[in-house]
């Protein structure tokens, strides 16, 4: 796929990232279709350029923690932490790269945060959920009316404090409906 971009369409640099989800699905037989979709999407995008301004900002938000707790006899996994017990430091920087069209209209917000999207995860149930990134995207869209991309930051062993506080019934309901099982 990269050769198509580099050799046939004269791109200088291409990056590909994939959602780190704990509550999504992907079947391998979609892979070939997905390749074509990616190529088509990029080529269409490249033919629809518009001038923009770019800005970036960052802050820290204390909504995540290191789930590995080191004890004298080994480590313990702290899978959820609603009481916000202090653990080892994490990089809880929230970064945003924002694109505006030249008439100042918001165009795209690219948001980065470190916590695994596991607020709506259910260990014993298959649920499909965009988890907290969806809520971030929803708020941004409501306030700025811009496109949103979410990327996971330095997420190694980092959970949101409210991990696994699933409204499970809601997630299952959504999943069943999506797959035509309800």
């Amino acid at each position: 796929m990269l050769e198509v971009f580099y050799k046939q369409h004269d791109f200088d640099y291409v990056t590909l990232s994939v959602t780190h989800t704990h509550s999504g699905v992907f079947s391998e037989n979609r892979a070939l279709t997905l390749n074509h979709t990616i190529i088509d999407t990029v080529l269409v995008t490249g033919n629809n350029l518009t001038a923009v301004k770019i800005g970036a900002a960052q802050t820290t938000i204390d909504e995540s923690y290191n789930r590995i707790v080191h004890q004298a006899d080994g480590i313990v996994m702290l899978w959820t932490n609603p009481k916000r017990i202090k653990t080892r430091p994490v990089d809880n920087t929230l970064s945003v790269v924002h694109f505006k069209i030249l008439d100042e209209q918001p165009f795209l917000s690219w948001v980065f945060y470190n916590a695994h999207p596991v607020v709506t995860m259910a260990l014993n149930d298959v649920v499909i959920s965009a988890d907290y990134p969806r809520q971030i995207a929803k708020v941004i869209r409501q306030n700025l009316d811009s496109h949103v991309i979410f990327s996971l930051g330095a997420a190694g062993d980092v959970n949101p404090y409210d991990a696994n506080t699933t409204p499970i019934a809601l997630c299952i309901c959504v999943s069943l409906k999506k797959w035509g099982l309800s």
Binding site: T19, F26, R30, L34, G46, L49, F107
Partner: protein, 43 residues
């Protein structure tokens, strides 16, 4: 202020919860594409 040429495209919703988002940046001479395959974008 940096002014660049930018394009953004979403695929149409397809029959599973996956979207492809592409961002192309260009300074007129060079082109860079950033692609995100978002497995949960529809929810």
């Amino acid at each position: 202020m940096l002014t660049i040429l930018n394009g953004f495209q979403l695929t149409d919703k397809i029959d599973d919860p996956i979207l492809v988002k592409a961002l192309v940046l260009s300074d007129g001479k060079h082109r860079m594409a950033m692609v995100v395959v978002d497995a949960t974008a529809l929810y």
